[in-house]
């Protein structure tokens, strides 16, 4: 709430969305020297193939339940279909209208949210433990029997069409979609998760229904439930609600390992925003996938480069030169590939100075590498900052959902600290040479094209688009 009038020291590092996930699921840290362990949870599979995770937590009398469905923008036949389907779940279900469900949920002080991302869709409810029965019932109906009411669907579509245009009022909101499109092109990872105004406009109620039928099936879904409950009681409740949920036609998933592009030359996507007062930029390329065995070490190296306040990028671009309020870097990982990028922003006149300094600083990974003291500091930092990441029911439910989506388990969490501890200076060199894109870098610059187009040319082959154009 109060963030509206707060001006924080380093909000930018957090706001650049991809960096939030720079250290996502991996865990570690612990009571001083002992190693962090994920709290005990139970995983089971119902007869219909539905995966269930139960993790009791009793700090506050709250519960989070999340359904994670293996369907996202990679499954889109029309851009935005997966996300729109997830949003359309909330338009009424089980004989209750959208308004009736909202009344009931709001009255309990609870919330019900849905979203679609690149490879997964989710439905999440947060509520007080005393309201479990009512909230689970509505959660079950919304997930398995959404009505996709025609009037409400039309209104939702209109809101989303407007939202796509509004997102483009803020370069930071749309940077990732431009970057993904630039590096992945026609591959499904280049799909715009939000869709475009025209693509959303074209989506019919029937397409959404079909998408739901094709992917929202028990054998393609996990339910993670975290909070103030007794596992045995909860298991029985879930069994009763979800055992009769039936699978339909076999789920078809695209082969995401096929036709992954490779950067052949340096390219610049110059996005013209005529009234821009600054240039927002992103530099990088295709990088690692979710299950990369070296990820923990890579994230420590990235911490040194652009994952914390004293990182090289923030130190150079902000602290030493005053060119920007924040600079950083991070990896976004998907099941079959991923991206690495450096991101920052600076006033239009200092665009070249900032981009050049970002590149020069990045080059330090190879020219000088990481010394022992810096590595030790980064290792302490990632360990020390870990435990608060999994402090809430919502965060733990999200983690369990990711385990289902990407196929990892608690070993990944529980071995995190020892993997951090094992990282040496020599190993950091290998990680830099293996995983950080060095050549044929890809650039997105969002700003006033007239003022920066000549600068853009110096970094690679330029393609210029208007931010107001209905595409990415």
């Amino acid at each position: 709430m109060s963030h509206f009038t707060k001006t924080p020291k380093a909000a930018a590092l957090v706001l650049l969305s991809s960096f939030v996930f720079a250290l996502p699921v991996m865990a570690e840290q612990a009571k001083n020297q002992s190693s962090f362990q994920l709290p005990a949870y139970e995983q089971l599979k119902l007869d219909n193939g539905l995966t269930v995770f139960l993790l009791p937590q009793h700090e506050v009398p709250l519960i989070t339940v999340q359904a994670t469905v293996r369907a996202g923008a990679v499954n889109d036949k029309v851009a935005g279909l997966a996300q729109l389907t997830s949003q359309a779940l909330l338009l009424g279900a089980g004989g209750k209208s959208k308004a009736q469900i909202e009344q009931m949920v709001d009255f309990l002080g609870a919330s019900l949210n849905s979203d679609g991302s690149m490879e997964g869709s989710s439905l999440r409810a947060d509520f007080m433990a005393k309201d479990t029965e009512q909230m689970l019932a509505v959660f079950h109906q919304v997930l398995t029997q959404p009505a996709f009411d025609a009037t409400e669907f039309y209104k939702l579509k209109a809101r989303q069409v407007a939202a796509v245009a509004q997102a483009k009022e803020s370069p930071r909101m749309v940077m990732d979609q431009y970057f993904n499109k630039l590096v992945f092109g026609a591959h499904p990872y280049g799909n715009a998760v939000s869709g475009t105004a025209a693509s959303l406009q074209s989506i019919s109620q029937l397409q959404v229904k079909n998408f739901h039928q094709s992917y929202y099936q028990p054998n393609n879904t996990a339910i993670s439930i975290v909070g103030d409950f007794k596992a045995e009681v909860m298991k029985a409740q879930l069994q009763k609600l979800f055992a009769s949920w039936k699978n339909g036609a076999a789920v078809q998933q695209p082969d995401l390992t096929a036709a992954l592009p490779k950067a052949e030359k340096a390219k610049v996507l110059l996005v013209n925003k005529a009234d821009a007062i600054e240039t927002t930029f992103s530099i990088g390329g295709i990088a690692i996938k979710q299950d990369n065995p070296d990820y923990v070490g890579i994230s420590v190296v990235n911490t040194v480069l652009g994952g914390r306040f004293t990182s090289w990028l923030n130190d150079e671009l902000r602290v030493n030169s005053g060119l920007t309020y924040g600079a950083g870097s991070g990896f976004d990982r998907y099941s079959a590939s991923g991206t690495f990028n450096i991101g920052s922003f600076t006033k239009t006149e200092s665009t070249q100075a900032a981009v050049d300094l970002a590149l020069k600083t990045y080059q330090r990974l190879w020219d000088k590498g990481i010394d022992q003291a810096t590595l030790d500091s980064a290792k302490a930092y990632v360990k020390g900052q870990f435990p608060p990441r999994f402090e809430t029911n919502t965060a733990l439910a999200g983690l369990l959902g990711d385990m289902y989506l990407y196929g990892f388990n608690q070993d990944y969490i529980n071995s995190f600290q020892s993997k951090v501890d094992q990282l040496t200076v020599a190993e950091s060199k290998r990680l830099i040479n293996s995983y950080f894109p060095k050549d044929q870098l890809q650039f997105v610059l969002i700003g006033k094209a007239e003022a920066i187009k000549d600068i853009a040319k110096t970094y690679g082959e330029v393609k210029q688009v208007e931010i107001t154009a209905d595409s990415f």
Binding site: P61, E278, V319, E391
Partner: protein, 441 residues
């Protein structure tokens, strides 16, 4: 809605009924001889801890010529002191596994540290050094001006709310320092002097002007010992001068228009003068805030978004030392004119004043408050933040534990009364942000 009674009962018995929830008696406090007050919450749920240092200084302590200096000062606190020189504050903290941030509001400047519990002494050492011996270096000031100018620009580039709120405040307040944005005027950011900064530090960064909250896997005795060792030697200073200016009563609607070419549909922001958070009306206003905009069953969503006049709405009631504004914002559907959106928004507000709210609506808002309270109490960070917030804005952290009772006491008649008293035309400022130039037809 048969669960109404149990929700109510739970609300009333909130602190006692929840097995592991924090209670007032879990919070311990002591005051050093130099006047610094420290609150401690022992909580070993994770092997981490945090500290919040609240300084009673914000943009309300500024005047034209030094607007934005409170926030700029927040940045300078990271730029070097006696023992830990430039960059060493962050380097030392991060090497110990800690992270930090800070923020400035109209009333406060707040420094937050999150760290493994075993780094507690390092945190005290770092904080004491910059409180007692900050080195305000001329070169660092110049570089930091660039950082803050970029922070200001990136806010305006990426956030329509920033742009429109800055314009609205400038019109809604004629006299009081809430008139300017926390980040300040661009010309002031470029102009304040080394002396301005030195004076600011001496006046406001005195231990008697601060409250510290430490929450996490720590022991009171340990915190006390470190506070005595590191903070007690820092001398107190004379009490800073009170903010004298009182905003005169608004006697008629005020309006402001801002053009931004890339805006795709009109943004509308209303601001109504309301009393300080210490007013007994705070709880009714806060519940009215929820009734207006929390959840899709709220008045504004139903009256504007569901009717396809707006794509997004929210309302915002800041906590505040002095009388401030209650904000309501709506972003128009494409094709909807600002004037039509304004009529509809005001219609929704006036309906509350005229007809009041139902008992069910009020119960809903109370349940939403309870849920929000639990979510704050789920993390050590939320706990430290909310304990400090109540200590600062309501005079005592104890008030946090009176809040359920204070919310519970509010009746539908109270909601209607505050809507009638404050949400009226003569007390309103209207701001419109749109793409077209403001010109005569």
């Amino acid at each position: 809605m048969k669960l109404k009674q149990s929700a109510l009962a739970l609300m009333l018995g909130l602190v006692i009924s929840s097995a592991q929830a924090t209670e007032a008696k879990d919070i311990q406090s002591f005051t050093l001889k130099n006047g610094m007050k420290i609150l401690v919450l022992e909580d070993a749920s994770i092997p981490n801890a945090n500290s919040y240092l609240f300084w009673k200084v914000g943009s309300r302590n500024e005047y034209p010529g030094i607007t934005g200096i409170s926030h700029f000062f927040e940045h300078m606190m990271f730029n070097g002191a006696k023992k830990y020189g430039p960059k060493m504050f962050d380097q030392t903290m991060e090497a110990a596994g800690g992270a930090n941030n800070a923020y400035t509001t109209e009333d406060l400047t707040v420094y937050t540290n999150w760290f493994p519990a075993n780094a507690l002494e390092t945190i005290f050492d770092l904080e004491a050094d910059r409180i007692g011996h900050l080195d305000i270096n001329a070169k660092m000031v110049e570089s930091e001006r660039g950082v803050v100018t970029s922070e200001r620009s990136t806010g305006l580039e990426n956030s329509n709310f920033r742009t429109i709120q800055e314009a609205l405040k400038g019109v809604a307040f004629l006299a009081h320092p809430y008139s300017w944005s926390v980040i300040g005027h661009e010309s002031d950011i470029k102009a304040w002097t080394l002396d301005d900064l030195k004076r600011y530090h001496k006046t406001y960064y005195a231990p008697n002007n601060a409250v510290m909250v430490v929450a996490g896997d720590v022991k009171l005795a340990e915190v006390k010992k470190l506070a005595e060792q590191y903070f007690a030697p820092i001398p107190s200073q004379p009490e800073p001068e009170a903010v004298r200016t009182v905003e005169p009563e608004q006697k008629g609607e005020r309006r402001v228009y801002v053009q931004k070419a890339s805006v795709t549909s009109p943004n509308l922001l209303l601001g109504f003068h309301i009393p300080a958070s210490s007013s007994p009306d705070y709880y009714a206003l806060d519940l009215l805030n929820s009734i207006l905009s929390q959840g899709n069953s709220s008045r504004l969503y139903q009256g504007l978004v569901d009717k396809e006049l707006a794509v997004d709405v929210f309302s915002y009631l800041p906590m505040s030392f002095d009388p401030n504004l209650f904000y309501m914002m709506a972003i128009a559907n494409p094709g909807v004119k600002a004037a039509d959106l304004e009529t509809a928004l005001i219609g929704v507000i006036n309906k509350v004043a005229k007809e009041g709210v139902s008992q069910d609506e009020l119960e809903k808002a109370k349940n939403q408050k309870l849920m929000q309270f639990y979510r704050e109490m789920e993390t050590i960070n939320g706990k430290a933040d909310i304990i400090g917030t109540y200590e600062l804005y309501f005079g005592s952290y104890q008030k946090l534990f009176d809040a359920p009772k204070n919310y519970q006491k509010v009746t539908p008649a109270d909601i209607q009364r505050v809507a009638q008293s404050y949400l009226k035309k003569s007390n309103r400022t209207v701001a419109v942000l749109d793409s077209a130039e403001d010109k005569d037809l």
